[in-house]
Symmetry: C2
Subunit: 553 residues, 2 copies
Amino acid sequence: MEKYTIGIDFGTLSGRCLLVNVASGKEVAASVYEYPHGVIEGSLPYGRKLPIDWYLQHPKDYLEVLENTVKKTLDEAGVKPEQVIGIGVDFTACTMLPITEDGTPLCMLEKYRSDPNAYVKLWKHHSAQPQADRLTRVAQERKENFIKRYGGKISSEWMLPKILQTLEESPDVYRDTYTFLEAGDWIVLQLTGKLMRNSCAAGAKCLWHKKSGFPSKEYFKAVHPGLENVVEDKLKGPVVSIGTRAGLLTEAGAALTGLSAGTPVAVAHLDAHGATIGAKVVSEGKMLVMIGTSSCHELMCREEKEVEGICGYVEDGIVPGYFGYEAGQSCVGDHFSWFVRNCVPSSYEEAAKESGCSIYEYLNRKADAKKVGESGLIALDWWNGNRSVLADGELSGLLLGCTLQTKPEDIYRALIEATAFGTRKIMETFAEYGVPVDEIIMAGGIARKNPFIMQIYADVTGRTIQIAGSGQNAALSSAIWAALAAGSENGGYDDVDQAAEKMGKLMDAAYVPDREKKRQYDILYKEYIALHDYFGRGTNDVMKRLKRMASEI
Amino acid sequence: MEKYTIGIDFGTLSGRCLLVNVASGKEVAASVYEYPHGVIEGSLPYGRKLPIDWYLQHPKDYLEVLENTVKKTLDEAGVKPEQVIGIGVDFTACTMLPITEDGTPLCMLEKYRSDPNAYVKLWKHHSAQPQADRLTRVAQERKENFIKRYGGKISSEWMLPKILQTLEESPDVYRDTYTFLEAGDWIVLQLTGKLMRNSCAAGAKCLWHKKSGFPSKEYFKAVHPGLENVVEDKLKGPVVSIGTRAGLLTEAGAALTGLSAGTPVAVAHLDAHGATIGAKVVSEGKMLVMIGTSSCHELMCREEKEVEGICGYVEDGIVPGYFGYEAGQSCVGDHFSWFVRNCVPSSYEEAAKESGCSIYEYLNRKADAKKVGESGLIALDWWNGNRSVLADGELSGLLLGCTLQTKPEDIYRALIEATAFGTRKIMETFAEYGVPVDEIIMAGGIARKNPFIMQIYADVTGRTIQIAGSGQNAALSSAIWAALAAGSENGGYDDVDQAAEKMGKLMDAAYVPDREKKRQYDILYKEYIALHDYFGRGTNDVMKRLKRMASEI
């Protein structure tokens, strides 16, 4: 009897359930369920208006994903519940919610259904910025050691600013909250009845460290007197390493999913960090780049290294036994779509239509006809700031080398090259600080669909670029973690490398760097770095001054 | 009986004849004649192919302008030939031709009609670049004093590279040439029978200086042995100051134009330099900016000053008795049309169409709704190199401060502001070297039709901007020079100031700088200058390196 695991990937707008054959890694069936409430912004479901930068979700939607996808996927594949030996879950983060002792989200209590702070705060909920600033300032004033691990800055997207916002704005909600929990951990609680926090989210989004734990009471007290006991009072449950078993499916969990009670459930994972295993990235020297609207770079190292401008590294953060490092570029696909929306003339749109291809394909084709350096253009890819190495959101984009002969495809190509230079700079910074990158594996829609861009990344980095083999890499990865949670005694795996090898996937074709193009890109990269350092390291802070001037208007 | 003068403005594609009332400056009638041969490129009229960068004209076209416009203009206005007391001519430069002793262009000889070097070389004829480079190199090697007046560089557009090209490529044409002449001086020769060279073109385009004359025989010999005697052999005729009378209309000239023999004819003028008088710019402290595809800045000073990066100043070059200075920006209207052609999305084009305005008007409106500094953008206006102050064609354009919120109108406005910053830099450089600019007068289509851009120039420079009152300012100026050539004894003028006052024109409305905007632009201008010096003065020569890399491909 064939054995399967279920991976469920909770994204921003929908949840995706994937059924995977444990022996072969074959993706047998999948089902997607869109959250009925989507992203809640503007106003609450019950009418109350929301200020800007509020982005909430309704936890009921997540339960409906479980109800509506798991059984359907099994039915479609003709697979019986007893053939499923494990369940794995990944989630966007920090997407968090306040719950009562029995696990009920506070927003589902009649009393709090009109209180925005009782809802799920989605990862991109940004209105806790003043709280984040205070947490940062106090950490710096107190010279807290932990802040160094985060590049000196606490993001408004993380857990503690979101909690502090609740304490300040809705003290009743704060008081009645048994614990605040990552939504991924809440799903695991629904399935297993066990309250725990996955090490990945705890480390990456909640200031936790495997050896030193959470920040001290003194620190939290200095931030806000009411926050003194936040760890013991409101961050209950042990931190458990990813890659392990959270527990077994309860009767209630079985009723919710249609699976058999007693099925092993994996500790939840973050969608980006957890996704390396699906692309066989489970050891040192390999970097997974998930290229989408923005890019995430995931890699690991046996040792703990402080790498310049790399925000957040977590022991047991990607694969147990390794320090997981994450870097990022805040503007990649967003960059290209900004360009297409704002800078492409109608003559190009018409020509694309006539030749029956998308505007992206048309631009690719025209840009591909040019040689490296032919346009004379170079760009800094900071349209949305710089997330890694410089870690400075106040930087902005630059385009240099324009002439009256400059064509739209030249600018488009310069923007692509700039994002590749940014990836190379991240890679070289890791190497410089002792975390080498020998291989690059890329995942995401752009990686699978855009050979032109991938070849540029190969030529710029001088690395062969392999591509994740699955179009639903995050869900596949969760299914692999599920097979590890099951263990060999249930027909799964005990060893991460083996699980990755059997169930992970890479596309057959790879992008091999062209030697001559690499040599020319080395020249351009040197120029990129000179501009990067000049504008990014304080010699000329014109970008920051202009942003400040703009924001003061 | 009312008295009139005729001004004829020879442009790149047509000649324009304007009849002006001498007492009031009223423009009574005008007529335009397009050159039948237009710009000759690709091949000669008789079939011979032309290499790239060859731009020729047929001198017969100029004669047809005289035949087809002067009489027609008079007829239209009901003015009799005897009411016309003077004729003035301005021409693009250096637009030059080889002629025989009787004034016949060599291309009109059967023998040479298939030789490209026998034709008129238009100002933008660029194929004498190797010759220009050689003339420059030898001047620098010999440390010739004259080269300083030209910013260290001889342009391929000027007279001597074009002559040397003829000597090298068509020695027969060179040998049979009685003299090479500016086309404007050739028109005067046709009208008066007198061979002379106007001081403006001789100084600005032919290395002539009022005190030291042309460069030495030794210099020319060092460039090419055959060029040793070029001045006495091939640059015959005296250099005569602009603003004076060249002679009287001959019978032949009368037959050509339909005017009366004996009518005074002014010394020819360059179209840009000559045009200040029409806008009443005839004294120190005033700068005329002709804003078109590129911009020319004309101003004058009683004293000779060496101003950094200002290429070409000529005694008696604009108004007799003054040193005339010219600066330039190589890319202004070209900049905006590059942007509209390459960077405006179809949604904007459609919206412009819907609101019934041109895309420029639509962009103006959207950009005008933004505040100074609101976009966070700044640009360097070097899409076509930097002509003045840095005088470096190898520089290129820069756009800094882009974000995902950047809109097309933001970029458009940043480009406009950059050209205004460029004008301010020119103005401040003149002042720094002792040539003050108290008032700015602007001329050209953009000046008359684009209040949004003009207001930015006022706010950036902190000067009230006045606008030339005539839409045909060059032709009007020639008509004023004609009235000066006539002199008071014929009903004209003896005094430049008086002639300018009576016949020159400014629009009533002026653009007054907004104090608060000026203050904010001061901040942006400081940033502009920092970038200008960093990229333009050798700290980071990335623009040149990228251009070299592009040109090597």
